[in-house]
């Protein structure tokens, strides 16, 4: 019992350490590029590549990744609270923002869904 728990904690720590490493490497590369790409997305592409090329094993990072993804909502709460600093924009443009958001997302649902319906192989 104790042993399996310790093993789980160990796996989680190794996984977290790997995710952090890929994140910081991604950030480092992003800083060197002449255009603006988030370092986290570079880290995401790198970890995907490393897994595909079998440089790292899925079981090393799976547990930690699922924990972070499950908590993602919590991580962006402070940014959401930032709306109070931008409230003046929402106040004068709120109706337009809602209109743009609704029309754009409906168009996006429709186009991507329809395209896949037509293109997918059965």
């Amino acid at each position: 019992m104790m042993k399996t728990q310790l093993k789980k904690i160990g796996e989680f720590s190794v996984g977290l350490l790997l995710l952090l490493t890929f994140f910081f490497v991604g950030k480092g590369i992003a800083g060197l590029l002449p255009f603006s790409i988030p370092g986290s997305v570079i880290g995401m592409i790198l970890i995907f590549t490393a897994l595909s090329l079998k440089i790292i094993k899925l079981k090393w990072i799976e547990a930690a990744s699922m924990v972070l993804l499950g908590l993602m909502g919590l991580f962006f709460v402070p940014y959401g609270v930032g709306i109070i600093d931008a409230w003046y924009l929402v106040e004068s443009w709120g109706l337009y923002i809602i209109l743009i958001a609704v029309l754009t997302s409906v168009a996006t649902f429709a186009i991507s869904g329809t395209l896949f319906k037509l293109l997918k192989k059965r």
Partner: protein
């Protein structure tokens, strides 16, 4: 790091508990924690800057969780190998429509530049949307709130809208929901069908990557 961080964590935790008991809009954990924190700052007279600074240990993990999205992508891509090209093309089509739609509307309505930059990445997952908006000179506060709102809208309405358009099979439903309304929409797709959830999750991750590269280019075309 400071104790205002505890406010965020406690509210998020409470939202989770309440939502499990009573799944209504008000208790959606992110929504509950954001509005609860705003109320807290307002009642106890804290500034947003102080709150944000004390919460930096939380927001730090956004980056690593985007990296974790790559792990999810790897796990799922193996299940859709034969349909990978159609998948990327369909999501890419959705990305193009999404970014162009925002640009055209902001031009027609003559929105200020910082506002339109905040809206360009509205169909992708919040942490990446925040980075894209910042890169274009937008306000991450507006971006995150609009993105979360769209997620909730997609969660509630996307399956119905897609049904009306004759899109009924799990795969294409998932692609539509995930491309348009990221993780919050995906949560609904999973409940429709496991396969819909798989495609929705893939669409969310792939759309984020495509938007990161496309958004600055399209933004440049309009300026």
């Amino acid at each position: 790091m400071g104790w205002l961080m505890l406010v965020t964590i406690l509210l998020f935790w409470l939202g989770n508990k309440l939502y499990k008991e009573l799944p209504i809009l008000l208790f959606v954990p992110v929504f509950f924690a954001v509005s609860g924190s705003i109320l807290f700052l307002w009642i106890f007279d804290f500034t947003f800057d102080q709150y944000f600074k004390e919460n930096e240990a939380i927001t730090f993990f956004l980056g690593p969780s985007v990296v974790a999205l790559g792990v999810l992508l790897f796990k799922q891509v193996r299940n859709v190998k034969k349909n990978l090209t159609p998948l990327v093309l369909s999501i890419g089509g959705g990305t193009l429509i999404s970014v162009f739609s925002v640009m055209v509307f902001t031009l027609v309505f003559q929105l200020p530049d910082d506002l339109s930059a905040s809206l360009v990445p509205i169909s992708i997952t919040t942490p990446v949307a925040i980075d894209v908006a910042k890169g274009l000179g937008g306000d991450p506060g507006i971006t995150s709130v609009v993105v979360i709102a769209i997620g909730i809208f997609g969660n509630m309405c996307a399956p119905w809208i897609l049904h009306k358009l004759g899109i009924i099979e799990s795969e294409e439903l998932g692609v539509g929901i995930g491309t348009g309304s990221h993780g919050i929409g995906t949560a609904r797709a999973i409940r429709i069908h496991e396969k819909a959830g798989l495609y929705s999750g893939l669409a969310m991750a792939i759309n984020a990557v495509i938007t990161v590269f496309l958004a600055p280019i399209i933004w440049g075309l309009f300026h």
